[in-house]
Symmetry: C2
Subunit: 304 residues, 2 copies
């Protein structure tokens, strides 16, 4: 199959059927109608084989899910509603079985979260998936990394360290549908929780690069504040150790800074676990159980 | 430098300074304000080293330009105004000299065409550049591939075959600033012409995959019409032969279907060369000087 046949068969019309899509896959560009008075939220993320997922033994279906999920997690961290996705897929050869499974993994998640695939692009090369996601949100009610305030409580959605624990289990030979592996292979982006939190929180970030590293970014963006964390409060995922939860872990949970009263108030609305793990302090640096653990680290160093 | 330092230094604040950008590079996602009542136009394209540009000897500055230009050409083919770009860059190592030149090439073109770089992503892997571009256009006045009508005249902007001729010259050792090579290395997307044509044309496509192949796509999208082309009317680029103009050539010119009277009327407004090369016919197939040249080919076959 040539590029156009592959796009026609595996990409066109995938994901949710949205009435605001006028031209989808199959023209020079897509045409969609933004909702009046909303802000547009844009994010892009790339998965490279052997770098962001195992080059061998990672199923195409899981990769399709994951490529969209990592972008949905960024959308969730802004408190926006995802809408339209574009996919650039670079792969060594057009294997139809692989493509069908990949497209299914992508589409299942896209349909569930009301995302239409409106643009696709295919190239020959080493396996790389680049997804761009556009969403919408209310003016003045989108979440940035900046905005955390002294005295805010710090909460996380879900559990931490599951990405690292799941990858460890996968490498040790656990099957792809093992519950721990599933947490790594098919992260569940916190889109609904993010949209609810957008009306309550001061700041948020997704912890895709590790809790400590991403917390440091949130603190830096909020003007050099600090944080106190409690190790016993950390909600550890199945099979995860404390260091898995603190370091780079591909967890795709939200780290949220907001007044504790608001945090308690939204707890039952979010539809996922929600744990208070610490608070924002005026002084810089991050302390765990009172001991300094980080002065200025910035998370996963892709080029170090 | 780690990923975040590279993004901070080479990506943040690049391109045009647009007042509709509220959050650019440096958060989980970008926040921008779409203009009221406009449609949103979205496109993405990927350049893979050794596939879409020479793996050796292609300057970073030209690659930065080209990665944006191929997307701008899609935007031009819709008649939309480009606004916001996101870049996913995968490269083997963070070479600062290379990155600075790449960012400069991208930014120079972006500034000139009022495009803000609002999102960036960096990964380690073989050299691949994926750019996504969002633009805006008037409802009811965006150009699709469909809509061509029997009796329309077919026009092209600029000259054809320059991409192939330029690549040939580059491979033969011509320097990057040689006029022919420049046509290949730094295509000039027809953004302004596309915006003017959006109010006049029935259908348009950019000929990035070759005149015959892209014309076939336009004809198929317009309900199976045909076309008569004239070889003497083809505007050949410097160093280009007729077959360069007809086949895959990385030309990034617009192929436009519209009434001849409209074509003549807009000629002086477009700011670029504008040549009538044929007309739309009711019967299917493409004829060159009266002889059938194509029944159903679909251009550059990336996987053939």
């Amino acid at each position: 199959m040539d590029e156009f046949a592959v796009i026609e068969r595996f990409f066109r019309g995938r994901g949710a059927a949205r009435s605001d899509v006028h031209v989808g896959v199959g023209d020079d560009a897509a045409i969609v109608s933004p909702a009046p008075g909303r802000e547009l939220v844009l994010t892009t993320d790339t998965l490279v084989a052997g770098r962001h997922f195992p080059a061998e033994g990672f199923p195409a279906h899981a990769l399709g899910h994951r490529a969209l999920a990592v972008n949905l997690s960024d959308m969730a961290a802004m408190g926006a509603a995802p809408a339209w996705a574009l996919m650039s897929l670079t792969l060594p050869e057009a294997d139809e079985t692989w493509l069908e499974a990949f497209a299914d993994g992508f589409s299942s998640l896209a349909e569930r979260l009301d995302v239409a695939l409106v643009g696709g692009n295919l190239a020959v090369g080493s396996l790389t998936v680049c997804v761009t996601l556009a969403g919408q949100g209310e003016r003045g009610h989108l979440l940035k990394r900046s905005g955390a305030r002294e005295g805010d409580a710090l909460y996380v959605t879900g559990r931490l360290g599951g990405g690292t624990a799941g990858l460890r289990a996968l490498r040790a030979g656990a099957p792809i549908d093992h519950p721990q592996v599933r947490t790594y292979a098919r992260p569940e982006p916190r889109v609904e929780a993010g949209r609810i939190l957008a009306r309550h929180a001061h700041a948020a970030i997704d912890v895709s690069d590790g809790l400590l590293g991403d917390l440091a970014k949130l603190l830096a963006a909020s003007g050099g504040l600090g944080a106190d964390l409690s190790s016993v409060a950390m909600p550890l995922a199945s099979g995860a150790k404390l260091e898995d939860a603190l370091g780079p872990s591909d967890d795709y949970e939200l780290l949220v800074s907001l007044p504790e009263a608001e945090g308690e108030q939204v707890a039952t609305q979010l539809g996922c676990e929600w744990h208070r793990i610490g608070c924002i302090t005026a002084g810089p640096g991050i302390r765990l159980d009172g001991e300094a653990v980080m002065a200025e680290s910035r998370g996963y160093r892709h080029f170090s």
